[in-house]
């Protein structure tokens, strides 16, 4: 069966006047099947957000796609004209951003912002759009008698704002929703609430979800498959349980070990060093300077993918036959 989204060898660079070109993504390849929940795990600066923006073809001016393709339902988005991509954004692939406060328009009432999405993609009367938007707000957990419709974004809490952003994202029933760190800006209670909402919507609407995060716990909630990214490359990919419980790549192992586990183990085990500067990546495997299992070959060339077990791939020479 053809996957819903198939990303192949995408390589993106950023240019700037005073620094050498920065390689943000390097040969990123993965697929998302219809109705599947995929988690993308990585630390800041590893290219997570660049990847999300590439999928929507809304990269900033300074970015350049060197090669690769993003095939969504049989069409390569990277070769589409802007008008064609606009039809996909929101209706085919929609996005929930990290900061709901910045994603919503501060001077438009919440209800109008949700119905605006509907009218942009479908021909419908204002009254019909209003009705639809009301039912969307119900779906994301607002009470029927709530006054949210007439509220401005600043009158809502962070969690409520994120619910509105999710209502916008699911308005046109897109087959794929990208959630870029949807819980990072929220407090604990709201984080739990938003993840539960995304999970129930995914099941109810049968949509595929790509959750981008730098924390592991959101991934344990409902994700089927996990991609781990380091310095612009996907270094490990596999079923969520396998990757989170028995990770293969030394980076994934380090990332999981650095989280506190259980009360009062006095010291944590962080990965030594800091993530590399993307303008100045080390030769060979980008993780080699921080890796505890480093071998000679790691300094010479970047590892290809090995598959020690079915559907679990890892870019590390440790697993070379």
């Amino acid at each position: 069966m053809q996957p819903l989204l198939s990303v192949h060898n995408v390589t993106v660079t950023y240019r700037s006047s005073d620094r050498p070109e920065i390689r943000a993504l390097e040969d990123v390849t993965f697929e998302v099947a219809a109705g599947e929940a995929v988690g993308l795990l990585g630390e800041s600066g590893c290219g997570k957000t660049t990847l999300a923006l590439t999928l929507l073809k809304s990269l900033p001016q300074a970015a350049r796609v060197l090669r690769g393709s993003v095939i969504f339902r049989g069409t390569d988005l990277l070769t589409l004209e802007e008008s064609g991509v606009q039809k996909v954004r929101g209706a085919g692939i929609s996005m929930v951003h990290q900061e709901p406060g910045l994603a919503l328009n501060p001077v438009i009432r919440v209800g109008d912002q949700v119905s605006e999405v509907l009218r942009a993609h479908q021909t419908m009367t204002a009254a019909r759009a209003k009705e639809e938007a009301r039912s969307l707000l119900l779906q994301v957990g607002f009470a029927a008698d709530s006054r949210v419709w007439d509220a401005y974004p600043h009158q809502l809490s962070g969690g409520q704002q994120q619910r509105v952003a999710i209502a916008q994202a699911i308005a046109c029933r897109p087959p794929l929703v990208i959630a870029d760190e949807p819980t990072t800006a929220l407090d604990v209670a709201a984080q739990i609430e938003i993840l539960a909402l995304l999970k129930s919507l995914k099941e109810k609407l049968q949509m595929a979800v790509l959750i981008i995060t730098h924390e592991t716990w959101p991934l344990t909630q409902f994700v089927d498959r996990v991609l781990v990214m380091y310095a612009g490359r996907i270094v490990e990919e596999g079923p969520a349980r396998r990757v989170l419980e028995q990770p293969l790549h030394p980076y994934t192992c380090g990332l999981l070990r650095s989280r506190p586990m259980g009360p009062h183990k006095r010291l944590l085990e962080p990965i030594p060093g800091e993530p590399p500067d993307p303008a100045n990546l080390p030769a060979g495997c980008a993780f080699s300077p921080r890796c505890s299992d480093v071998m000679n070959v790691c300094h010479n060339r970047a590892p290809q993918y090995f598959s020690p077990e079915a559907s679990h791939h890892v870019a590390c020479f440790k697993y070379a036959e």
């Binding site: 006054r147 809490s157 506190p260 009360p263």
Partner: protein
């Protein structure tokens, strides 16, 4: 007024029935109303231990921390430090008391002066305290080394450090006056897991070496369970639960989820609306 501390001798800092109200809106505003930020909060922190404050945003965590450090004057209630009532201190004693409590703020990029270099940032509190230049610089260099900043740090500006290094810089500055209590206001949030673990280990190490007391405000349940000796759960200005170590995460999770569901049933939407 009571003559001695109501809490045990071990407690370095404690407060009894602390209340604080804020007025929202200007005095001519139509929507002027009062918000009860803290309501009868009593707690105590033992020397060398870590107390964590958790709760939703707006539950009073930061107000409590600000009251305990005298940055905010509580409406009622008492604060005791090392067996003495803070309200009864003379001016000179109060200055000494405030040196004992330092805050590491949430976002160091916003709390460090962007035009001072690292050396000036770390030594500035000593300048205010009137120490000589040589002493200031010696202490600052020692602290920067202690928190693990690289050797070329002193001349660099805050913007030239990575996120993790900026946290280290903020911690060094907070330690300059040799405080006994550090308030960590979301000091570990917004960091990547591996860097967060490095800073967390740094804080644990400093606590053991210098017998520091931490009051830690955080949203990260796992991290809080790891660091804290006691957790106070705040809700609408009140402590609804005090959990001593060892902390059972599942228990805390239930507490949060339960409250959430109750809130949803009551359908209290509109609390934030005018």
């Amino acid at each position: 007024m009571q003559s001695d501390s109501p809490q045990s001798r071990e407690a370095v800092l404690c407060c009894t029935r602390l209340s604080k109200r804020y007025t929202q809106g200007g005095w001519l505003s139509k929507n002027r109303r009062e918000v009860q930020a803290l309501k009868d909060v009593s707690l105590s922190v033992r020397t060398g231990s870590t107390l964590a404050l958790i709760g939703e945003s707006g539950s009073g965590k930061s107000t409590l921390a600000r009251c305990l450090t005298c940055l905010e004057q509580p409406d009622s209630g008492e604060i005791w430090f090392a067996g003495r009532n803070v309200a009864a201190l003379t001016h000179r004693e109060r200055v000494a008391f405030q040196r004992q409590i330092q805050i590491v703020f949430q976002e160091p990029a916003a709390s460090l002066n962007p035009r001072l270099n690292a050396l000036e940032i770390v030594s500035e509190p000593l300048l205010i305290a009137g120490e000589s230049k040589k002493q200031r610089h010696e202490r600052a260099l020692y602290l920067m080394h202690l928190v693990g900043l690289p050797d070329d740090s002193p001349k660099r500006l805050p913007s030239e450090f990575s996120g993790g290094q900026r946290r280290r810089l903020a911690i060094a500055r907070a330690l300059t006056l040799e405080p006994s209590i550090l308030i960590l206001d979301e000091s570990l949030s917004g960091l990547d897991p591996s860097i967060q673990a490095q800073i967390s280990n740094l804080l644990t190490g400093l606590q053991e070496t210098y017998h520091l007391t931490y009051i830690c405000i955080s949203h990260d349940l796992d991290l809080v369970a790891h660091l804290a000796d006691e957790i106070a759960v705040l809700h609408q200005g009140q402590i609804v639960k005090l959990v001593p170590a060892p902390i059972d995460l599942a228990d805390l999770h239930d507490e949060f989820m339960g409250r959430l569901q109750r809130a949803e049933k009551a359908s209290s939407f509109g609390a934030g609306l005018p």
